[in-house]
């Protein structure tokens, strides 16, 4: 199992390195926009439930 995971990790690293070299030139402004949109969406999807949870636990303490 560890050998298989190591081999997979090495393969993935190889793919990343090769594709980074060949595709960096194709990186455009659109990619940055899409990346910011994705990261923004992930932050919202993380922070909204987190803040609601904190509020729920805090108000539960107050109402007891």
């Amino acid at each position: 199992m560890p050998t298989m995971l190591s081999a997979t990790a090495l393969h993935v690293m190889g793919v990343v390195r090769t594709q980074t070299e060949t595709d960096t030139a194709e990186f455009s402004d659109n990619h940055l926009l899409y990346a910011l949109r994705l990261i923004g969406a992930l932050l919202i999807a993380t922070l909204v439930p987190l803040l609601i949870d904190q509020r729920a636990r805090r108000s539960s303490r107050v109402s007891q």
Partner: protein, 174 residues
């Protein structure tokens, strides 16, 4: 799957209440965070091969298990974290179209092209997760309010995404 992953994180809270919700929310979105990182770095990630394929997700789950177990000394909690990371891939197979392994087939029901069906499916996961999560909240006089606020906010977020899918012809991730 988009906001449905939050439903999985909320459900996981029921199985191990000692895990902070932040850790669960980060774990449930690990493949998407990797996607975002690769996108910023300008690395080509064809069809999400480096972030959503089976070997990639298994590696993330192993890393998540090791990291959480090392920090918290809670192996059961670490198993929940690893399971949550794997759940991302399984849920994406319902709504998306994802790679299996390098050279392998793509699988998934592609519900993103049917936003109404996608909303219903993700909504069901959100409601189920929120109902399980509700049992982790301390008792109060009107407990349903907290769950209603959580479900309402998450459904609104999901609705926004599905409407964007309807309005925009193309919705590239990176």
């Amino acid at each position: 799957m988009y906001i449905g992953h939050v439903g999985a994180a909320l459900a996981a809270k029921r199985f191990r209440a000692s895990i902070g919700l932040l850790a669960l929310l980060v774990a449930t979105y690990v493949p998407d965070w990797v996607d975002g990182g690769l996108c910023v770095a300008g690395v080509n990630n064809p069809e999400g091969m480096l972030s959503h394929s089976i070997p990639a997700v298994l590696l993330f789950a192993l890393a998540g298990f090791s990291l959480y177990a090392a920090v918290s000394r809670d192996r059961t909690g670490a198993l929940v974290i690893a399971g949550l990371i794997v759940s991302h891939m399984l849920l994406d197979w319902i709504t998306g179209y994802k790679p299996t392994w390098p050279g392998g087939p793509m699988i998934g029901l592609r519900l993103y092209s049917h936003p109404v069906v996608d909303f219903v499916v993700e909504g069901l996961v959100i409601v189920a997760g929120a109902l399980l999560y509700a049992r982790t909240l301390p008792p109060r006089s009107r407990p349903w309010i907290d769950v209603a606020v959580m479900v309402g906010a998450l459904l609104l977020l999901q609705l926004g995404i599905d409407v964007a899918h309807i309005v925009m012809k193309s919705f590239p991730k990176c």
